[in-house]
Amino acid sequence: MSIFTNPTTESLNNFVVSIFKNCFVIGSVVSLIFAVVVIRQIATMKRTIKTSFSPVVQILGYLHLAISILVFFLFLLWL
């Protein structure tokens, strides 16, 4: 790593930016896991209590999961 061999302002900046990139990717993975847990929980709760609004809640959960997947791939490939 150039920051340790040649510590310039630019290399320091690149190092900080790369840390941020990794943090964003890890964050999106956590968000993805959370979205999967939400889907599982909605399915369990839908079985526990059946209301006319439960399908809407499930759609919201899937929408959240779709956004999480999209954000994960965006951070992974675009950043």
Partner: protein
């Protein structure tokens, strides 16, 4: 001339009286049969619920006789008479937090804190930030929506969905209810009328708490009416 007492006439009279006594209706406290509206049998004995219309709105915090609502351990013929959630005012805190999360990036961008970041990273930061907000809003809503208290004509059920990972379902039969306590505290709770109903039971779960539910006095009244009905059923031998 004075009438001569005839014992046979007296016997006839007394027989007549006995017959008439038998025919006369006994003075008993009869249960008034109210018309059952919308097929809800609870209307027959609950004055509180008789005045309530069946609830179509699945997002209502105080849903009397909810339509199209079932739960997994529901027995055949068991009817949901009341479904409760926390009062919507309890969502005030998550709403305020959401608003703060929503407006915080504007504060960041107005300051030179993020000057070292590239435009790509700033865009990623904004996307990530609003992703956190979406997750927070969804989690808060789900916790509120699935955290329900159900009162049926036979049981009380407390479905706790304390976080996304923990689920706890406790139930007790109406016959096992021993004591009902209503607690309302605070200015907001008094103004918008919400509070906690503590139900002590002789079942395995010693106490069930219906936390921050709207109209706690009405809930307590319904439970008392259901308890009276259960006692009446026991006396009449109509126990399931």
């Amino acid at each position: 001339m004075p009438d001569i007492f005839d014992a046979s006439d007296y016997k006839k009279e007394s027989k007549k009286n006995k017959v008439s006594k038998k025919k006369s209706p006994r003075k008993t406290i009869q249960k008034k049969n109210f018309p059952v509206k919308n097929g809800c049998k609870v209307d027959a004995y609950s004055q509180t619920l008789r005045n309530e219309k069946p609830t179509n709105n699945p997002l209502k915090a105080f849903a009397a006789k909810p339509v199209e609502t079932e739960f997994d351990s529901q027995l055949e013929g068991e009817e949901i008479v009341l479904m409760l959630r926390r009062h919507p005012i309890t969502l005030f805190k998550p709403v305020v937090i959401s608003l703060i999360i929503f407006f915080l990036p504007f504060l960041f961008f107005s300051s030179p804190m993020l000057n070292f970041m590239t435009s790509k990273l700033i865009t990623a930061f904004v996307i990530g930030w609003y992703m956190i907000l979406t997750s927070f809003v969804l989690e808060s809503f789900l916790t509120w929506f699935f955290n329900v208290f159900i009162i049926t004509d036979e049981r009380i059920i407390d479905v706790d969905f304390s976080s996304l990972i923990f689920k706890n379902v406790s139930s007790a039969k109406i016959d096992n209810i021993e004591d009902i306590t209503v607690a309302t505290g605070g200015v907001v709770a008094s103004i918008v009328d919400y509070g906690t109903v503590y139900i002590q039971t002789s079942a395995e779960v010693p106490e069930l708490e219906f936390e921050d539910v709207p109209n706690p006095n009405k809930v307590s009244k319904v439970l008392n009416e259901l308890m009276l009905e259960e006692e009446q059923e026991k006396i009449e031998g109509r126990v399931r």
